[in-house]
């Protein structure tokens, strides 16, 4: 297909232009046997699923981001990895994805093709197939360049039951690496902040990592990916639902120097910055070493580390500073508003 020019309303009209876009570009990029059947729905053999676990996991997410492309990824890689990760942290092996595009007219075809290509790569890396989809084009102003929705199904092996309310006193809290990279990269990517920071999004699939963790510790108490709202938001949910305190050691928190520096200038707390390839696990202390070792053998877990412990309490996240101070890290009520009088 000729990639000169932009996407126009004609590409969404149902006519020839649309046919070209869907068949010659999208379908070709994503190609796989289920998709090639060309029906209005993907027909998934049940036997295969049943062989892999005892529950089906099903999730959906919509992706909007400015700019569309940024260091370390683009809206397409987010759309694949985000949904893969939502399945993975439930313990599911992600298998099939759907993909809906809402495109604002004027999007360069070349850009769209590039995003599709990276989606294909991300799907391959995560071992999932995009088996059904939809495309709409809206007029200028009706959307912001490109919105993507993906839904995904996966299969959960028997015995895997992490839950936000599962943390127990004495457990340890583990993350798989640098915090806040994605949020910082996005803030930086528009370029107008004039920061000299070299920060890439951490956008990555986490299913292989979770599989490795589960293999050494079937009894992971809590597991979530720390996306919007960052680490602080996930841990607050764990603390509240489990009615325990999550006590973090400030000096253990893996935050890159450029992210730290950027947060200092902007006055933001890296604990609230979004991630797209980070998970938080609460595991029994007896399993901690094994889980860590298993994680560190996988690229997405090279920098995995223990950041804190679960203690008796009334549902707070507490940050222990290097000097022994203890600061409560709340869920944000909205935007970060100063409380100081």
């Amino acid at each position: 297909m000729n990639l000169a020019g932009t996407i126009t309303l004609a590409h969404g009209s149902g006519g020839r232009a649309m046919h070209q876009l869907v068949d010659n570009l999208i379908r070709q990029t994503f190609t796989n046997p289920l998709l090639e059947e060309g029906e209005d729905q993907a027909r998934i053999p049940l036997a295969e699923l049943v062989a892999q676990g005892d529950r089906l996991a099903f999730t959906t997410d919509s992706y909007v981001v400015t700019p569309l492309e940024f260091p370390g990824g683009n809206i397409g890689t987010l759309a694949i990895n985000g949904t893969v990760n939502d399945l993975a942290v439930g313990g599911a092996k992600p298998l099939y994805l759907s993909c809906g595009f809402i495109i604002e007219e004027g999007l360069p075809l070349e850009t769209f093709a590039r995003i599709l290509q990276s989606m294909r790569l991300a799907a391959d890396e995560a071992g999932v197939q995009i088996v059904t989809g939809d495309t709409k084009v809206v007029q200028r102003g009706g959307a912001d360049k490109l919105f993507i929705n993906t839904a995904g199904v996966g299969v959960i092996p028997a015995g895997f039951n992490p839950s936000a309310g599962g943390a127990q006193v004495g457990d340890v809290v583990i993350v798989n690496g640098w915090l806040g990279d994605h949020g910082a990269a996005i803030l930086n990517a528009r370029g107008d902040l004039a920061l000299e920071a070299d920060i890439e999004s951490d956008c990555a699939p986490l299913n292989a990592l979770v599989e490795a963790m589960f293999a050494v510790c079937p009894d992971i108490h809590c597991l979530r990916d720390a996306t919007r709202g960052g680490l602080a938001t996930v841990l607050n949910e764990f603390a509240e639902r489990s009615n325990v305190d999550m006590v973090l050691k400030e000096e253990f928190l893996p935050i890159r120097t450029p992210v730290r520096g950027m947060c200092e200038i902007l006055g933001l707390d890296p604990l609230y910055l979004a991630n797209e390839g980070k998970l938080v696990a609460v595991v029994p202390i007896t399993a901690a070493q094994a889980v860590l070792a298993a994680m560190q053998r996988i690229p997405e877990g090279y920098h995995a580390c223990i950041i804190g412990a679960v203690m008796e309490g009334d549902g707070h996240v507490i940050l222990q500073t290097a000097f022994g101070g203890e600061r409560i890290v709340d869920m944000l009520p909205g935007e970060q508003l100063p409380r100081i009088c």
């Binding site: 803030l187 107008d192 902040l193 004039a194 920061l195 200092e264 200038i265 902007l266 006055g267 933001l268 009334d314 707070h316 507490i318 000097f323 022994g324 101070g325 203890e326 600061r327 409560i328 709340d330 944000l332 009520p333 909205g334 935007e335 970060q336 508003l337 100063p338 409380r339 100081i340 009088c341």
Partner: protein
């Protein structure tokens, strides 16, 4: 023979009131009884006409030091006296209604005891009597009996018991009564927990402690409501080391001196200040230095327990007496915590085994315009109730959760507001635990069942979130009060402003509070009563680039103000100024974008931030601050009193905005200030012109508003910025000179420590 019943209300329980009545009855030959009941003390008295009159007279004038009389109601009795002597009737449990009184400084009689070598309490650090000693700091629950305090582990010896049961004795029913035979004791240990015995001529571990202090060591001293860090204030090496270890590099440290004569070597002490220092509250008093320092005041206090008095007896110079903590955390109270947290901070620990149950910090006061003002209300004051003005007598019981920083909470009950001691910053996890603990304690002590809960409107305040949760769980109405309305109402309430007393003009100069429009307020003119308010004036909102970071780095505010003028032109025109050069070193392009994108740059009409902006312009803590309000405090400190009335006032623009609300715009001030910097004016003169300018524009707007709104009956001054003495004195003076009635804070702080009282009265009004 005639008879009467005398009902006395006020602070009359747990303060030695009944034995005092008994003593007066003996002296006046009165028969009858005295008892505590749910509303105070009830006396039934029989005697001849003149004896009864005499007795009633003396009841009013001869009251125990810790008592406070609110009302005496006498009614005639026509029954015959059941016995011919005067008796104290024990109170049944459940009858007592006063909860608990504040800790009180050692009384003169006890001081005599501990320094009298023939007294059995000679050099005994836990000496106390009905007129003095620990109360709130040692109580676990009510009724206030020894068994419910941390004295439970110390059964009284026969001699102490004799005092305790003898109405004629000063220690009658003194719950913490103790002596060297039966009471708590003090010991000294090193960092390894090894006890250190007195040696040579040292009489006891206090002598040893003094020896160590003179050698320059830093001690942790377990006191009344918490643990202090102590060192020789005249030993610069020790003080510097203490600051380094405590990570408190700049904030002033409190001092304790043996007596006022020692203090006078360093500070001017007026008569009123001496009275305050010697009062039963024994607070820290901010006093004016004799010779200049970076901060023109020093916080001094006098020894308020026998332990402190004995330790300081041989010191002709002051000791540093600062809370045992790191930087802004709450101080330690338990032995275990002290050993753990003071490891590496204190060289030696002077500990005792009378547990501190509740942390009660030292109160901080300052005399302004001739009156003592509380800046931090804790030891010696809390939980003394504040009697609410007329109209509030039948207010339903309710709980006001307070603010976020400098938190206190308040409970309304029986026409009074009971204010907790200063608790501090609720973001600190330890303070938070104390907050929830103290809420529970007060609920128990005062048998309080709230019928409504009052919170600040700021959704991020932890006190607000807890209040919301409790209201939800307990099915109680939740009342949200705007921060600065609470400031104004607190000022009205403590000045006895009746519920239907009409409207005041509240001028609240503050740091930040959550405004009704979702922006941050803090320089507000509110036409207010307890029921509501109308925002009739404010400072022009300016962005805070980086949010909280703009509080930590004052220069951000300077830049934001200059940005509002047009940064490019300002930078070009004043390029030679060191200030402009400093700002140009900062990541301004980033900040510029933040403002343009509205990224973490909330708008604020705060007067505190304007202070920061001007302070940073004059290089007061320009780069960053290490404690709250530091830049503004330094700006006040460099302002010479002698220049104040000589220099011209910097101009502000004053105009109504689209919402028909007056706006004070500091733009003209900035042009003048920058020009003065360029001319090479000294910053002292510029600081004075800034203060003058503020005083001028605020009184100007106040007078305009009074003309515009004839409903205004008085002007209430509140908000943390009013801790600035120059501003406070200047504004109050001018408004009074203009014939206006001015309400100011005295009993609760003008800072956020006073918010809870304001919430309480606004909430009570809403519930009536």
């Amino acid at each position: 023979m005639s008879a009467c019943s005398i009902r006395i209300t006020g602070l009359v329980q747990g303060v030695g009131f009944r034995p005092n009545v008994w003593r007066l009855a003996q002296a006046c030959s009165i028969a009858g009884t005295v008892r505590n009941d749910s509303s105070g003390v009830l006396i039934e008295a029989w005697g001849n006409e003149s004896a009864l009159a005499d007795f009633q007279q003396q009841l009013r004038t001869d009251i125990p030091p810790l008592a406070r009389l609110d009302d005496i109601l006498v009614t005639a009795l026509d029954t015959a006296c059941p016995h011919d002597d005067f008796r104290i009737i024990a109170s049944a449990s459940g009858e007592i209604h006063t909860g608990i009184v504040a800790d009180a400084a050692m009384c003169p009689a006890c001081r005599v005891d501990i320094f009298d070598a023939s007294n059995r309490r000679y050099r005994y650090p836990f000496t106390n009597c009905t007129h003095c000693g620990p109360r709130l700091s040692i109580v676990r629950t009510i009724p206030y009996d020894r068994a419910n305090t941390s004295m439970v582990g110390f059964p009284q010896c026969p001699e102490c018991l004799r005092e305790y049961t003898n109405p004629a004795d000063r220690r009658f029913h003194a719950q913490p009564n103790a002596c060297p035979t039966c009471g708590p004791n003090v010991w000294l240990e090193d960092r390894a927990g090894q006890g250190i015995a007195p040696s040579g001529t040292e009489r006891d571990c206090l002598d040893t402690a003094n020896h160590l202090l003179r050698e320059g060591h830093i001690l942790a001293l377990m006191g009344l409501g918490g643990v202090h860090l102590v060192c020789d204030a005249t030993n610069e090496v020790s003080v510097a080391e203490l600051r380094r270890r405590k990570r408190r590099y700049q904030k002033p440290l409190a001092l304790m001196a043996r007596d006022v004569d020692v203090i006078r070597q360093y500070c001017h002490v007026t008569e009123a200040e001496a009275v305050l220092l010697h009062s039963k509250h024994a607070p820290i008093v901010l006093l004016e230095r004799r010779v200049g320092g970076e901060i023109p005041t020093i916080g001094f206090m006098l020894p308020y327990t026998p332990l402190h008095a004995l330790l300081l007896a041989t010191w002709n110079t002051p000791l540093i007496m600062t809370s045992a903590n790191l930087s802004e955390e709450p101080q330690c109270i338990t032995i275990a915590e002290t050993r753990q947290r003071m490891q590496g901070i204190a060289d030696y620990l002077l500990l005792h085994n009378r547990p501190i149950v509740n942390r009660v910090d030292d109160s901080v006061t300052r005399i302004l315009a001739g009156k003592p003002r509380l800046l931090r209300r804790a030891r010696g004051y809390a939980p003394e109730p504040i009697t609410l003005p007329s109209g509030f007598t039948n207010a339903p019981p309710l709980l006001a959760m307070g603010g976020e920083l400098k938190n206190t909470f308040a409970m309304v009950r029986d026409g009074q507001a009971i204010l907790s001691q200063h608790l501090g910053d609720l973001e600190d996890a330890r303070t938070w635990r104390e907050y929830t603990h103290t809420l529970q304690l007060y609920r128990d002590l005062f048998q309080h069942q709230p019928q409504a809960i009052v919170v600040d409107k700021h959704p991020g305040y932890r006190s607000t979130q807890l209040g919301q949760q409790w209201a939800r769980e307990q099915g109680l109405p939740l009342i949200e009060v705007q921060h600065h309305h609470a400031h104004v109402a607190a000022c009205m309430a403590e000045n006895g402003w009746a519920m239907d007393g009409g409207k005041v003009l509240g001028i609240v100069l503050d740091g930040l509070g959550y405004g009704d429009d979702g922006t941050l307020w803090g320089g507000e003119f509110l036409l207010a009563d307890y029921r509501g308010y109308q925002r009739v004036g404010h400072f022009k909102p300016v962005a805070m680039p980086g949010g909280t970071q703009a509080i930590v780095q004052p220069w951000r505010n300077t830049w934001a103000h200059l940005h509002a003028l047009g940064w490019v032109e300002v930078a070009a025109h004043f390029a030679d100024l060191e200030l402009i050069q400093f700002l140009q070193q900062q990541p301004l392009a980033t900040l510029e974008t933040m403002l343009a994108r509205g990224l973490n740059s909330p708008l604020s009409s705060s007067c505190g931030r304007l202070f920061d902006a001007v302070a940073a312009a004059l290089d007061c803590s320009r780069a960053s601050i290490s404690y709250e309000g530091q830049a503004a405090i330094e700006l006040e400190a460099i302002t010479p009193a002698c220049l104040l009335n000589i220099v011209p006032a910097y101009p502000f623009a004053l105009a109504k905005n689209a919402a028909d609300c007056w706006e004070i715009d500091p733009a003209p001030l900035w042009y003048e200030l920058l020009k003065d910097l360029q001319t090479g004016y000294c910053r002292e003169a510029i600081a004075a012109q800034f203060h003058q300018g503020l005083i001028h524009i605020i009184t100007e707007l106040a007078q305009r508003l009074c003309a515009e709104y004839p409903a205004i009956q008085a002007i209430a001054l509140s908000g943390g910025v009013f801790q600035n003495a120059i501003l406070f004195n200047g504004i109050q003076q001018r408004l009074e000179d203009a014939g206006l009635q001015v309400l100011t804070h005295q009993h609760v702080p003008s800072n956020d420590g006073g918010i809870a009282l304001g919430q309480a009265v606004i909430g009570a009004t809403a519930q009536m």
